[in-house]
């Protein structure tokens, strides 16, 4: 019995420290790995002329990319919490309605859908931020193809982020707001 308790305690401690060590470990996909993955995925192949052109202009472009990356970080910090706050407020309201015996299954479903859309927004924002940070900080002269891949990836992610934000905003303003207004009328 005592041996069993000791074994469980040791196992628990091992898992705890193992989890902490895993959380503190550096990410497996560093900038070099991500760059190679992008070049493969986007099939980036530069000829000699394009390589020379990019190598000469990429440093200046990186300065602009840093501004864009900072702008994105500021925008995310400012606006992403608004989506989160709106969803949490709707969740709290739905819970209160349930406690009052008011059925709000439609609102509950819409909140779930809004959460999924919000996850898409957050994922797109994070990917865009990573692409911009990589493009603006890498050694672009040594790897112009990797720089081009990061910029191209950022363009794709920027489009996805804009679309995801518009989708979530439209859904909240039409579906969820309408449902809430119907509850108010009742």
């Amino acid at each position: 019995m005592k041996t069993g308790i000791f074994t469980v305690a040791v196992l628990t401690l091992s898992l705890s420290f193992g989890g902490l060590a895993g959380a503190q470990a550096p990410a497996a996909t560093d900038i070099k790995t991500r760059t190679e993955e992008r070049k493969t995925r986007l099939k980036i192949k530069l000829d000699a002329a394009a390589t020379q052109r990019l190598s000469g202009k990429c440093v200046a472009a990186q300065a602009k990319l840093k501004v864009v990356a900072a702008k994105l970080r500021e925008t995310n910090d400012k606006y992403l919490p608004k989506y989160d706050e709106f969803i949490q407020k709707a969740e709290k309201l739905e819970l209160s309605l349930s406690e009052d015996g008011v059925k709000s299954s439609e609102l509950l479903g819409q909140i779930g859908e809004a959460k999924t859309k919000y996850d898409t927004v957050k994922t797109a924002a994070a990917k865009l931020q990573t692409s911009l940070d990589d493009a603006s900080s890498m050694d672009c002269k040594a790897d112009p193809a990797g720089f081009k891949a990061a910029v191209d990836d950022a363009r794709v992610e920027a489009k996805l982020l804009t679309d995801a934000k518009q989708d979530l905003t439209k859904f909240a303003r039409t579906n969820i707001k309408t449902t809430l207004q119907a509850i108010k009328v009742n």
């Binding site: 052109r53 990019l54 202009k57 990429c58 200046a60 472009a61 602009k64 990319l65 864009v68 702008k71 994105l72 925008t75 606006y79 608004k82 989506y83 706050e85 709106f86 407020k89 709707a90 309201l93 209160s96 309605l97 406690e99 009052d100 015996g101 008011v102 865009l128 910029v151 950022a154 363009r155 920027a158 489009k159 982020l161 804009t162 934000k165 518009q166 979530l168 905003t169 909240a172 303003r173 969820i176 707001k177 809430l180 207004q181 509850i183 108010k184 009742n186």
Partner: protein, 151 residues
Amino acid sequence: MQNDVVKPPVENQPAPVGPQPEPKPIQDIAKPAEPQATEPAPSETQAQPEGDASPEPGAPNQAEPEAPQEPMTKSSLPKGIIAVAGVVCVALIGAVLYLTVSGPEEAQTPAPAVQKNISIEDVKAAADGADTLPEADADLSPELTDQSLGL
């Protein structure tokens, strides 16, 4: 040691004339009225009715209790308890019947849309929250073109 103190002195007293009562032991002096279990005092009350397991030897001429009075006292208490229990049972049955009949009617009463947990203002605030969400903020695509980046 205690016996020496309590016992009357025998040596310096004249011998009693005639039969003298035997000196009682200390136990008898301390508890004169308590009967001995092994030697019940003979008395005329031995002819008591059966069932009386503790005859009092100290009262030989005590009159027998009247038999009808004691059963009257004992039977009156259960009757009172039965009466109170009956009233309680009737009250409980009535309460159960009331709750059984009135419960479903209360459950069928439709609840209003807004009760104690939320208010109209809460619902309105949540609905208006959708208007505070960003429209199409910071579309960065125009800033990422080759022309914008000088590529």
